[in-house]
């Protein structure tokens, strides 16, 4: 964030602020549960979980890929494997879009 010119930073923040409710609704109720283990995105990276992988700085592509790995069983987690197993492709794409940052 520090590398951004301040006006662009403010514009982005405004955009995110306005877009947040709509984006949250689009990704559906499942997206609202992610922060319960992984921490909220963007606001306070200092409070990211220390053992559970967080999304900070991950791109949408990477999040989508990881979720598909969990779903296929090629990545073994604990809680995440059980949840990913029942996700549809559309849900994975919506979650990746919701939590991924632009590369």
């Amino acid at each position: 964030m520090t590398a951004l010119p301040s006006s662009l930073g403010i514009a982005l923040a405004l955009l995110c602020g306005i877009a947040a409710p709509a984006a949250a609704e689009q990704a559906g109720s499942i997206a609202l549960s992610c922060p319960v283990c992984h921490g909220a995105v963007g606001s306070d990276a200092a409070h990211a979980p220390s053992a559970v992988p967080s999304f900070y700085g991950r791109s949408a592509e990477e999040i989508g890929w990881q979720l598909r790995e969990f779903r296929a069983g090629s990545r073994q987690g604990s809680a995440m494997s059980r949840l990913a197993n029942a996700l549809t492709d559309d849900e994975i794409d919506a979650l990746a879009h919701r939590y991924g940052v632009a590369p």
Partner: protein, 426 residues
């Protein structure tokens, strides 16, 4: 072992005695919008109110909760054996007032389920367009012979986040070497299905700490099965062989009568008598009083809801979430309550802005700690299939996992607690 945290404790004590209204400027800008009254500021109510605040700025939100802070259910068992400080498990909705939610430290004493008028202990009357109820559970003291509410401090359950947590902790601390502890586990459904077994595990850890090994933990059960049973039993055999004994209902483990609460003297269904040094008796449960008062429970004494948006099937415009509602197959957990609270916020926001209702997707994961560095988990994803709340997929930790896996889940459990309390209470 972390020491007792006097700062948190002071906050707790201040919160317990505080009452009154905290109103913030943001809330006043929504003063003319629809009014949503949330009753209960625990995991379900707080997460619903916070999520709704973010999604629907035009809504006026009032949160009614008499306790600004309480001991959370999650991590209670760890605090009971000194694995964390009492102050570490004190949380509550106190900070929500600064987020544009009208927090009233007050208790709802009646709900008119037709007009949606709520009266409070301090004498206020609130007119609600929608009510969200997340009041948790109440104990049923009337189902066991010889059991009465007056015995609650003699055989503390520490299940409701009040001063009993400190009482039970002191009693555990004072146990002599070789003590026998009995945990009475209730029939289904009840708050936190793995809770009694996590408590048994951690008390076993406490009794055997520092080379002491003669103590005994009896789990006297009204059931023949319980959450994560194979994993708990494997853990007991591995960590505390011979210390934890589970007496199922089939084996007569169900409590038949309290003979003498002061002397920890019980009679079981199989006729045998138990004399323990300490009993933690977790009574059978039902939805909290206000749900009964508002005509929101059915004959099971839990609140039936439409799983698509957790609206009561008995009264329109009232949503019941968390432990008080009937949400089988989701367990009564903080994670479930938080997830249900967010679904309700999302569907209220969609409704108010004329958008299509969200599809219900609910999440739960429950970690149980069996020893420091040793945890197990169960969890799943839930949705509505043929109008019923259904498990889309679920599972638990593998039985054959290596010790590193249990250690990793213990670290996850710790993170989960930090994140869900921040997510629910700010």
């Amino acid at each position: 072992m972390p020491a007792f945290d006097p700062r948190r404790r002071r906050l707790l004590l201040a919160g317990l005695g505080l009452s009154g209204l905290m109103r913030s400027p943001v809330a006043q800008s929504a003063a003319n919008g629809p009014h949503v009254v949330v009753i209960g500021g625990g995991f379900g109510g707080a997460s619903c109110a916070r999520t709704l605040r973010r999604l629907a700025p035009q809504v006026r939100i009032t949160l009614l909760e008499p306790r600004a802070q309480f001991f959370t259910g999650p991590s209670t068992n760890a605090a009971l054996v000194g694995l964390c400080a009492e102050g570490d498990i004190v949380h509550g909705p106190g900070a929500l007032a600064a987020e544009g939610i009208e927090l009233r430290l007050d208790r709802a004493i009646s709900i008119d389920p037709v007009t949606r008028r709520v009266r409070t202990a301090s004498g206020a009357t609130l007119e609600a367009d929608r009510i969200v109820l997340s009041p948790g559970v109440a104990m049923r003291w009337d189902l066991v012979q010889g059991l009465a509410e007056t015995m609650r401090d003699q055989m503390p359950h520490a299940w409701l986040g009040d001063t009993q947590v400190a009482t039970l902790r002191r009693r555990i601390d004072a146990l002599r070497d070789g003590a026998t502890v009995a945990i009475v586990a209730p029939p289904n459904p009840y708050r936190c299905p793995p809770g009694p077994y996590e408590r048994a595990s951690l008390i076993a850890w406490h009794l055997r700490r520092g080379g002491r090994g003669r103590g005994k933990v009896l789990v006297l059960d009204a059931k023949d099965d319980f959450s994560k049973r194979p994993l708990f039993q494997l853990g007991w055999d591995t960590l505390y062989p011979g210390t934890v004994e589970w007496v199922s209902r089939e084996k007569g483990g169900e409590l038949a009568e309290v003979l003498d609460a002061r002397r920890n003297h019980l009679r079981l269904r199989n006729g045998s008598r138990v004399q323990a040094d300490l009993v933690s008796l977790v009574p059978p449960q039902r939805a909290a009083d206000i749900a009964v008062e508002g005509d929101l429970v059915d004959e099971s004494l839990w609140c039936p809801v439409n799983p698509a948006n957790f609206e009561s099937t008995r009264h329109r415009g009232i949503h019941v979430i968390g432990d008080a509602c009937h949400a089988h197959p989701m367990p009564k957990s903080a994670f479930s309550a938080n997830s249900q609270g967010k679904l309700v916020a999302l569907s209220l926001a969609a409704h108010l802005s004329g958008r299509a209702p969200p599809e219900a997707r609910l999440v739960n994961t429950c970690y149980s700690l069996l020893a420091p560095g040793y945890a197990i988990s169960v969890g799943g994803l839930y949705g509505v299939v043929s109008e019923r709340l259904s498990t889309l997929n679920d599972g638990m930790s593998p039985l054959g996992a290596a010790r590193e896996y249990r250690a990793r889940e213990a670290a996850y459990a710790h993170d989960w607690y930090e994140q869900i309390t921040r997510d629910s209470f700010g």
